[in-house]
Symmetry: C2
Subunit: 330 residues, 2 copies
DNA sequence: CTGAAAGCGCTAACAT
DNA sequence: ATGTTAGCGCTTTCAG
């Protein structure tokens, strides 16, 4: 910047101000300075600015796994929200090898705040501990324990109800619920919603993967529990479940109906009946909450205990659900 | 750090050195300092360090779209490679709203280098322009024009050959090649490879989406060109193609065989015969090349023109290909 | 083995 | 409307 100032025949102060617009500069001077800046393709060293102003104008987003399109949509929402405040977004994937690195980025000032999507209990705890000292908001999944952190999630209970009602209305009574981890509130809520309409359902739990879906249906088949439908905790599990059903010679939805949850791209591709989470809106709202939280910290306030915000979900009927057969599988 | 030094009764110099290990500190002193650091949960302000040392120890990865699992695997590979050098990885998605932001992060020193996966011509040009001044490596797709940038891509030509040979061996002659954009070298190479074995193939181009796959098959059907197989440019296109075939009452692979490319998660889910790209290896190699490139820039050297490295692909036969029918569709 | 002090490049009072 | 200058928090010679 010294260089630019010297060449343009002004002080560094002036260069700084034509760049920031923080105080009036005569058009003539401004033009001259800009010309030099462009000619030399000068870009201010952000570290110097950060050191001085005390913040980076960058926020982070921690996602469990980049492979899920749902998270990508959510990310777009977050970026939309924070960019309107002039902030940039950095995405960190916890599925990468150094899960704790993004926490360092927050603590060392590389980022001004974080939108965190809970996934692994160990990291979650660290996040909760950090949230007293740095702006953090939780999205997609509530944190275990009452942290009082700003949180926005989909209305999983309602989603479960929609699935349960749809199945019940089609005559299903004997249902297999392939649920996600018991520790995840979203998973538990979905089960509760489903059971309101299908009280006799058998609940089997596993993680949110296709493998778990396969294995859990396998268990149910072996156990001899007869069921006419499978309500999976998410689309991945539904995929695995369908694979196992097909392997058993059962047709979907002819013999067994199957539902998912999330509405990822694959769901549309294979015609899976599922519940759409408002991924984009979740992201936007999370970004807004983070902005608020950053402002709060700047103002010296700390956590203002709030209860989680719930965003509405939508039922998407496709081709994996039909009326229940008289005789239950297997 | 002043605080820490004062409380521990040492100089900031000493605190700095117990943190960096850049010079011997007596165990007694070091322990005392570390105790204070932990007690106050002190983390150095990275901006100050960066300002002083001139680099951030962070590199970036630009991916076209987070929704594709292939890119996530590649990302893991990059992180694996750079973390061994003590660098952190920041991921930027071009599908987000501000595609140029990551270039700013490179230019303003937030990142020391960039692994770039070409996707949008406009951004690609800017990258190429920047590559003379900052460490950049290209992965997954060659940049148009002879940029001489370090590049690592899958062996698309070989992939095309594998597809072509597989189809030819099963008696297919009349083939529809649903290709990706003509401007993408990867796409062009795949077509060349396929045509070596299926010279009479009809080539129709579109972008790498399911919609394009659907539309292109639709065109072929309307045109009356009879074909017994569809070789798609990637898995997405293959998905769209299959959707259109099914809509026409054609069974896969009974009436028409279909192949994809990439081997994304959906391919496995629906049993698509495809070609697996070595995503993880691509990432590792890209990370290694970036490390080299950063070292080169540090040493004052600039671009050392190199030719693209090719990584081997693997053919994955599943359930969407079979022997050709006597009569070609439609 | 430890300290003092000079900046890294920028911003923002405080001048003029 | 513009310039002078004092740091932001760290690393690193240079001196003990």
């Amino acid at each position: 910047m010294q260089q630019i100032a010297r060449i343009a025949g002004v002080s560094v102060t002036t260069v700084s101000h034509v760049l920031s617009g923080n105080r009036p500069v005569s058009p003539r001077t401004a033009d001259r300075v800009m010309a030099v800046i462009r000619q030399y393709d000068y870009v201010p060293v952000s570290a110097a600015r950060r050191l001085k102003v005390g913040h980076s104008s960058l926020v982070g987003l921690v996602v469990p796994d980049l492979t899920v399109s749902y998270f990508a949509q959510l990310a777009k929402g977050v970026e939309l929200a924070v960019e309107s405040a002039g902030l940039g977004l950095i995405i960190c994937s916890m599925s990468l090898r150094t899960p704790r690195r993004h926490l360092d980025l927050l603590r060392d000032g590389t980022m001004d705040g974080l939108v965190h999507l809970p996934f692994a209990a160990r990291v979650d705890e660290e996040i909760a501990a950090l949230a007293g000292d740095y702006p953090v908001v939780i999205a997609d999944e509530e944190l275990a324990g009452d942290t009082g952190l700003p949180t926005v999630v989909a209305d999983n209970l309602q989603g479960g109800r929609l699935v349960g009602r749809h199945l019940a209305e089609r005559g299903h009574r004997r249902a297999l619920i392939v649920a996600g981890p018991e520790t995840m509130l979203s998973s538990a809520q979905r089960v509760v919603g489903i059971k309101e309409h299908l009280p006799q359902a058998l609940v089997l739990r596993g993680d949110f993967t296709a493998e778990a879906g396969y294995r859990l249906v396998d268990e149910a088949l072996e156990s001899g529990f007869g069921f006419t439908c499978v309500a999976a905790g998410n689309d991945e599990q539904a995929l695995g479940a369908m694979r196992r059903l097909r392997a058993a010679g059962l047709s979907v939805p002819g013999d067994v109906s199957v539902t998912g949850f999330d509405d990822v791209a694959v769901a549309d591709a294979i015609g899976l009946t599922t519940v759409r989470q408002p991924a984009h809106d979740l992201g936007i709202r999370a970004g807004e909450l983070l902005l608020q939280q950053i402002a709060r910290f700047d103002a010296g306030e700390r956590r203002a205990a709030v209860s989680p915000e719930l965003l509405p979900v939508a039922f998407v009927e496709r081709r994996t659900t039909a009326a229940a057969r008289a005789r239950a599988a297997p």
